[in-house]
């Protein structure tokens, strides 16, 4: 069992580190993890869930705003982008945040194609992140189920 735990832990570590290395996550995510403790053991998962909900909602808003037959209200799109940028930066969703920044510029420039492209990408990115994090959480669960503890991963 210990061997299994050790193996899982290593897997977990590697996976987590790779997420940072690939730019999915940044420091803020680390901060979030620090907030998780016995008092709130699922804090990170909770927050991330909220975040993904927000993503869906905001992306929807943007889609609608971009889809108006007639003049597109870029400010509306921009407003949602801004919000998404805020949430993504709060959870450490680095790629999403980066995309939002670009997205915002397109909004400001009233660049329709650019906005549409960004929207697509944001959609992809957040889902990719969702998948990755899900896998990470699954690993955590497996570790716990195997009787081990989820290791603290130091990203440096």
């Amino acid at each position: 069992m210990d061997a299994l735990v050790a193996q899982l832990q290593m897997q977990y570590r590697n996976y987590t580190v790779s997420l940072y290395q690939q730019g999915f996550l940044d420091d803020q995510f680390t901060e979030l993890k620090k907030l998780q403790d016995d008092a709130s053991p699922d804090f990170v998962a909770e927050v991330l869930s909220l975040f993904f909900e927000d993503c869906v909602k905001l992306i929807g808003n943007m889609a609608r705003a971009l889809d108006q037959t007639g003049t597109v209200d870029f400010s509306q799109v921009g407003a949602s982008v801004h919000q998404l940028k805020g949430s993504s930066s709060s959870v450490g969703a680095k790629r999403v945040k980066g995309l939002c920044i670009t997205f915002k510029e397109y909004c400001e420039a009233n660049n329709y194609e650019g906005c549409v492209r960004c929207l697509q990408q944001v959609d992809i990115e957040f889902k990719a992140l969702q998948t990755k994090l899900q896998d990470m959480f699954n690993l955590e669960k497996q570790i716990i189920q195997a009787g081990g503890k989820v290791p603290q991963v130091d990203i440096n």
């Binding site: 509306q76 921009g78 949602s80 930066s89 959870v91 899900q134």
Partner: protein, 545 residues
């Protein structure tokens, strides 16, 4: 309260301080709550400014501090601050997010640990009374506070500085409406862009103020203005190059926020008429800002540097009030999340938020300028200024509310509600009849669906529309509240189903649950759609399902 008492209070303060946190972004709110708990503050949260107000009104002594996001697109966060300040004399800390802001979001725990200092500081200053000469002490104070936590990084300091700035400005106007302040340059985004363009053209190392000035070709901008701005710019660049946390997409904006200097020409875009103006500026104890002379009655063309037709807008704004408040909200520029309906409230309070609108409204300019002003003032002066007459913690960081006796009236709340109502983006969509068919077919906007994690999905753009169409036709069927409320989700859900099917185990993680639930929604929707609508586009929906 004497200084000694304050000191004692200081010791006791951090733990158990009662904070009300307001942020419409649930993610951020949750994080904020957790952070505050870590600091051992007593936290109450709400994602609605309205609710926050109610809570505050319920018992004015219930909270020691309010932390609020002002960028709340769904509601007037700024207004909340205003009202809070006016009615309750509570210190409010503004939280803003976005790369062009104070980098307060993501909120860090170190910063939160220090927020109580704002509360105390206000007491100190209050004790000093409303004399104008305390810049030195103020600075000392501020420095002390800022330095006490070097790890805070720029953000915290910015926050405080901002606050100081606002304070200064407010008091300035309020206390001394008749004194003429020297007009100051406000480095607006456009102006700064020109500046940066000029610098780049000249070459950063070689850029000289005179040349920059020439290249910029802005009327009434002096070489001194440019020189001081350049200096700040250089400092800023140096600072950010060393600071990893400067994740600013738009360094220009960031810079502006941070270092809008007291360049000589600082124009105050607020009609000061009676001195009761912007709520955002608490009565200025007349520190540094005073000295720097903010123009009080400047509604005229003095505002040249903003590049916006200010005078015009201003007049509109003006209508009858001295009480126009221009909410120098967060700095966001065009894409500022604001409510579409920030309209001049001709009653008493005019609250505008930084508007992204392309419309040449001077408001955004004003607000931005205002904020920039604040920033620069704060940066330069770093004096702690506080609204004089506030009993408890009147530390206002960010937007301050006018301490002067503005008729704090109902119209505000009404307007707020109106704004709320009209500014909700999602609603119109649901209600409107969008020619979905046409859009589906003619619309190359496949943004919604063309690319997916799962390449097999191949969901058509129409998918999203289909869902909405469904909604519109009232075929809700198995629609749950969740579905209804998550309109935007529906489109995604369809695609998501496909996407998630890969690893949607029966695991019970939170993420899993969410995805599962969305999948279920999808499922039912999928069924619904197949049965009810005969869209061409649906075939693609079916395919991917």
């Amino acid at each position: 309260m004497t200084v000694e008492q304050d000191c004692v209070a200081l010791d006791q303060f951090p733990v158990g301080m009662r904070v009300l946190a307001v942020d419409d972004d649930q993610t951020c709110l949750r994080i904020l709550e957790s952070l505050l708990h870590r600091c051992q503050y007593h936290v109450t949260t709400t994602n609605q400014a309205q609710k926050a107000l109610e809570l505050l009104r319920e018992n004015k002594n219930k909270f020691d501090l309010v932390i609020s996001d002002v960028d709340m697109p769904d509601m007037d966060g700024f207004k909340l601050l205003e009202l809070v300040g006016l009615e309750m004399d509570l210190p409010v800390i503004r939280v803003t997010h976005g790369a062009c802001d104070y980098l307060l979001k993501p909120v860090r725990i170190e910063e939160l640990k220090n927020i109580w200092q704002h509360v105390v500081r206000s007491r100190f200053d209050k004790n000093r009374g409303s004399n104008n000469g305390d810049k030195k002490d103020g600075s000392g104070n501020n420095e002390g506070v800022a330095n006490s936590d070097p790890n805070n990084g720029r953000a915290n300091r910015k926050r405080k500085d901002q606050y100081n700035e606002d304070e200064d400005e407010e008091r300035d106007d309020n206390d001394d409406p008749s004194s003429q302040k020297k007009p100051r340059v406000v480095w607006t985004v456009e102006l700064h862009k020109k500046f940066v363009a000029a610098v780049n053209q000249l070459g950063f190392e070689k850029a000289m103020p005179k040349k920059i000035l020439d290249l910029m070709n802005v009327e009434k901008l002096t070489r001194e203005n440019v020189a001081s701005h350049l200096q700040k710019f250089r400092l800023y660049l140096k600072r950010i190059s060393g600071n990893q946390q400067a994740i600013m997409a738009n360094s220009d904006l960031h810079f502006l926020q941070m270092s809008n200097g007291l360049d000589g020409f600082h124009h105050r875009p607020i009609p000061v008429g009676s001195g009761q103006n912007v709520l955002q500026n608490p009565t200025d104890l007349g520190k540094f800002h005073h000295v720097s002379s903010l123009p009080l009655n400047h509604i005229d063309g003095g505002n040249i540097l903003q590049g916006l037709p200010m005078p015009l807008e201003f007049d509109q704004l003006q209508t009858n009030n001295n009480k126009s408040i221009i909410a120098g909200n967060s700095m966001a520029f065009p894409s500022f999340p604001t409510q579409q309906s920030s309209l001049p409230n001709n009653n008493n309070h005019l609250v505008l938020e930084g508007h992204p609108q392309a419309s040449p409204s001077a408001f955004p300019g004003h607000q931005i300028n205002k904020r920039l002003e604040h920033w620069s003032n704060a940066v330069s002066s770093s004096s702690s200024t506080l609204p004089p007459a506030q009993n408890s913690n009147s530390i206002i960081i960010g937007h301050q509310f006018d301490v002067s006796p503005l008729p704090h009236s109902k119209p505000d709340s009404l307007e707020w509600n109106t704004q709320n109502a009209s500014s909700s983006y999602s609603i119109p969509f649901c209600d409107s009849t969008i020619p979905l068919t046409s859009s589906m077919n003619t619309n190359p906007r496949a943004f919604y669906r063309t690319t997916d994690l799962d390449s097999n999905a191949n969901v058509q753009p129409g998918v999203y529309y289909d869902s909405s169409q469904m909604r519109q036709s009232g075929n809700y069927g198995p629609t749950t509240d969740a579905m209804l409320s998550s309109n935007p989700k529906e489109g995604f859900i369809v695609g998501q189903q496909k996407l998630q099917s890969g690893f949607m185990g029966a695991e019970a993680g939170s993420l899993d649950d969410i995805v599962n639930s969305t999948m279920k929604q999808e499922q039912s929707q999928g069924d619904l759609s197949e049965g009810d609508l005969g869209y061409g586009g649906f075939s693609s929906l079916r395919t991917c399902l």
